[in-house]
Amino acid sequence: MKKLGIYIHVPFCLKRCNYCGFYSNAMTDATGAREAQTHYVQWLIGKIREKGEEFRKKYLVDTIFIGGGTPTILQPEAIEAIMGAIRENFAVESDAEITIESNPKTLTPQKLKRYRATGINRLSIGAQSMDDDILKYLGRAHDRADFLETYEMARKCGFDNINVDLMFAIPGQTKAQWQDTVEQVIMQDPEHISFYSLQIEEDTPFYNDYIDGRLVPLDDGLDRDMYHWAIGRLKSAGYTHYEISNAAKPGYECRHNLKYWSFDEYLGIGDSASSFMNGIRTTEKPREEYHENDFDDNAGEFVFTGLRKRQGISKREFAERFGREFWDVYEGRRARVQEFFDSGALLEEGDRLWLSEDGIDISNQIMAMFV
């Protein structure tokens, strides 16, 4: 049976962060919020049932990712209901990786224990920084102490696979501040660390500030310095850098996210959730999208997402999936790609094609050769 990753979108947050472009609604009014959430979860469960009827016979679910938004602001009953609905309507592998995204300040021991009881075995914590001033600037609802408390709580409640999300290249941030954040998180010894260079997304407060000149992006040189330093430091602390912005202890790479970079199928359920099923990319309302991939789409996506992984892509797999040899397809681009082989940004050996660490910095123009 084919494997499937399920993504559940929960579009609610305590408040919107200044940089975030994901689809979500800030919940300020407690009563109204509770109602909207209950309503949404009921609708979600209906959707899960619907999708289950369509796919349960053909797929075995091996990863589940409950993301958002901040799914942990939901009542524990809601998460239990969602997990129950998935198990009822899909065949879920016994050792499936089941992640829930969270923000500090939204968790309690009781919530965490009940999550564990539903089979959720991986917790992702949006820490972003260990510097309270920076957290404030980002518009986060928590501070450093909240994170440490949440982290300790999660360990106590039995989470032995924890990811910590971090952000760098924040306007005004110094390299020392970034180093301090990384060191403090390494000290906590999470299984997985994601580290993102701040991206200015459209329709966010940061974007408006940027357009009006109030936000001056960090110098690219410093950005890259922070990035490469982090890769080195994480490696020395026993982490494997396995994707552009992700590192994990061996065996703890996020299996769900790897599907996105490995041309695997995934089913998104919920507002604005995206799916890739049977060669069709769709996104639910309100950011609706529908696209049937053709050969060029498939080949381009396989290569560009695959090159995000440090191990890169397998040309044999390419040929198996698409029925044509890799370099036959890209013969016409070879001369221009050569420039990147020459500078050592792109590497090829045996079956594999991958980016060097320096190549990552200019990965867009390399990937653009293959789309």
Partner: protein
């Protein structure tokens, strides 16, 4: 006497004042073209003309009007091009008429170009019939406009017909006025043949079709005609009238407007302004006012990356067949390879040709900085006319350089006088005088180097006057000037396509502007790209396009893949439109961007 029932006239107006729409209504109301066959703006028949709302190629139409006096009149409506670049063509069209309908948009009033055309009409001694358009609009101010016409032009506007071409209001009144006011043609039908060429087009089957106004004698099929300026002789194969398609007739005689076909191969052999006469019984005197066409602005046109040379050449040849004012010859550029040096009447003419290459011929081309023609006097006294900055001789050999000076008439609302005087000052203008046309409108008279006018003066004028300013200019003389060649170096290598000749006092500003613009437009490379502007060996401005440090998508999860792929595709497309100079990639639009007026600079 058939002449009594002929009226030959033009419509003159400023762009946007509704000339073409009015022509449509006149055609419609005389019943010649059925309403359902009318495309909007019948006379503007090039797509580009209709889109830009201007007339480039002339269209002439013969109409029949049954007047209130019971007689049928033949109206020959001779269209005129509507832009300052085409002044000569306008003057020849006017010379073919006895009168002109002056259309003034009475929400706008009289503008500089209206005046330009009025003077041209007055030079030809035409009877001018003013007519106020857009009378249906709430902002119409007919009384003020009448007063403006009387004050500025000195003609009686009291009885000027009030029309709305768009709504078809007042057209009958205008047609009656045309009969009453515009005089019929005169001239001896039995005299010697004397006909003025006011336009010519190329027809695939008939060869060149020349449009003429016959001033004396007559012409028929089989006659041997002589074109007096080119001194060439041809046998007439067809004559006829434009109704508006070609309708053959037995002959054309004094007072008539019509066409002649005589197996002429190229439009340049039948020049506008030339006189047609009979070879065996020629008239003594040609029509006055013939001028050889003079290209005022030159630029290089090169096939863009991925485009071939031959199709561009074929397209230019095809355009030239129909446009005697457009010149081209092959040239080469170290930066751009094989291409063409092209001559135009003005910047608009140049833009139109480039746009036609792109649209009608689906070609992608690169244009180099436009240049005027400089008169370079060498130490040994020889004179060289230079229209390509790259060909400027070594400064050591040059005694001095002269540049063309034009007289510019700029008409603006009075609130902008300060701003525009400052602009003209910056463009090395010398103010001659300033007239108050009305209490609100001012006519500024300047002498300015043409070089300053062609780059972006018109855009700047429009921008600084919120679109109300208008400009008219004509060449007056060459003048000694302190000019230097400004070069652009990318990654230390000279890119000749960017070279331009500028006044020494402007070199620094221009150099800095070009460097800043290129820095914005040239994408980052894997290495740093210095962008330099230099005069001779001296670098006067410098910018650096930084090397790529970061060109990476940090987050790419399930919902990002389609969007990020589009981003990468866009990046790839961008690369395709690049032109390679050494190791530096330059987007096509860079060549025009360095010329464009920028409000912020």
């Amino acid at each position: 006497m058939k002449q009594k029932y002929i009226r030959n006239f033009s419509i003159i107006a400023h762009i946007d004042h509704g000339k073409s729409t009015l022509a449509d209504r006149i055609i419609e109301n005389t019943g010649l073209v059925a309403h359902r066959d009318m495309k909007e703006q019948y006379l503007d028949n090039m797509d580009l003309e209709r889109e830009r709302g201007i007339t480039i190629k002339l269209q002439t139409t013969r109409l029949v009007y049954k007047a209130k006096d019971g007689n049928e009149y033949i109206f020959n409506l001779i269209d005129t091009p509507g832009h300052v670049d085409f002044n000569y063509e306008v003057s020849r069209s006017l010379a073919a008429c006895e009168g002109a309908v002056l259309v003034v948009d009475c929400t706008q009033g009289v503008e500089a170009q209206t005046m330009g055309n009025v003077y041209l009409a007055m030079d030809e001694d035409l009877e001018i019939l003013p007519c106020l358009n857009k009378i249906d609009l709430a902002s119409a101010r007919p009384d003020e406009t009448k007063k403006e016409i009387e004050d500025m032009i000195g003609i009686d506007a009291e009885d000027a017909p009030l029309v709305s071409a768009k709504e078809g209001i007042g057209i009958d009144g205008l047609l009656e006025k045309i009969v009453q006011v515009i005089p019929p043609p005169s001239g001896d039908e039995n005299g010697k043949l004397k006909a003025l060429i006011f336009d010519s087009i190329y027809d695939n089957y008939k060869g060149v079709v020349i449009y003429v106004r016959v001033f004396g004698g007559s012409v028929k099929v089989g006659d041997m005609i002589r074109l007096m300026a080119t001194k060439k002789v041809y046998e007439v194969t067809e004559v006829g009238v434009m109704a508006p398609g070609h309708v053959p007739s037995k002959y054309l005689s004094a007072g008539d407007v019509g066409y002649i076909c005589a197996s002429i191969k190229e439009v340049k052999d039948a020049r506008v302004g030339d006189t047609v006469t009979l070879d065996d019984d020629p008239t003594d005197q040609a029509m006055p006012g013939y001028k050889k066409i003079q290209s005022m602005v030159y630029c290089g046109i090169y096939p863009a990356e991925g485009e071939k040379y031959e199709p561009v050449k074929d397209a230019l040849e095809k355009l030239q067949v129909n446009d005697a004012a457009f010149l081209f010859e092959p040239e080469t550029s170290t930066a751009l390879g094989f291409g063409f040096r092209c001559g135009f009447l003005g910047l608009l003419h140049m833009e139109i040709i480039v746009e036609r290459l792109e649209r009608e011929f689906n070609l992608s081309v690169v244009t180099t900085s436009p240049s005027v023609v400089y008169k370079v006097v060498l130490n040994d006294g020889t004179i060289k006319m230079i229209q390509n900055p790259t060909n400027l001789p070594d400064p050591a050999e040059i005694d001095h350089i002269e540049e063309p000076i034009v007289k510019a008439d700029i008409m603006i609302p009075k609130d902008y006088v300060g701003t525009i005087m400052e602009l003209c000052q910056k463009r090395r203008g010398k103010m001659l005088s300033m007239d108050y046309i009305t209490t609100e409108r001012v006519d500024l008279h300047y002498e300015m180097p043409l070089n300053e006018v062609i780059y972006d003066f018109f855009d700047a004028l429009k921008s600084k006057t919120k679109g109300y300013g208008s400009l008219d200019y004509e060449f007056i003389r060459y003048e000694n000037s302190n000019l230097v060649k400004l070069d652009v170096l990318l990654n230390k290598e000279l890119v000749d396509a960017f070279s331009m000749i500028v006044h020494e006092s402007e070199a620094y500003n221009r150099g800095r502007f070009v460097c800043e613009k290129l820095k914005e437009i040239i994408p980052m490379h894997q290495f740093e790209v210095p962008v330099q502007a230099a005069v001779g060996q001296k670098v006067i401005a410098r910018e650096t396009v930084k090397a790529y440090r970061k060109d990476v998508i940090a987050k790419c999860y399930g919902g990002d893949i389609s969007r990020k792929k589009k981003l990468l595709e866009k990046q790839k497309e961008g690369k395709k439109r690049m032109r390679q100079f050494g190791k530096v990639e330059v987007p096509q639009e860079a060549f025009t961007a360095v010329l464009k007026y920028d409000d912020n600079k």
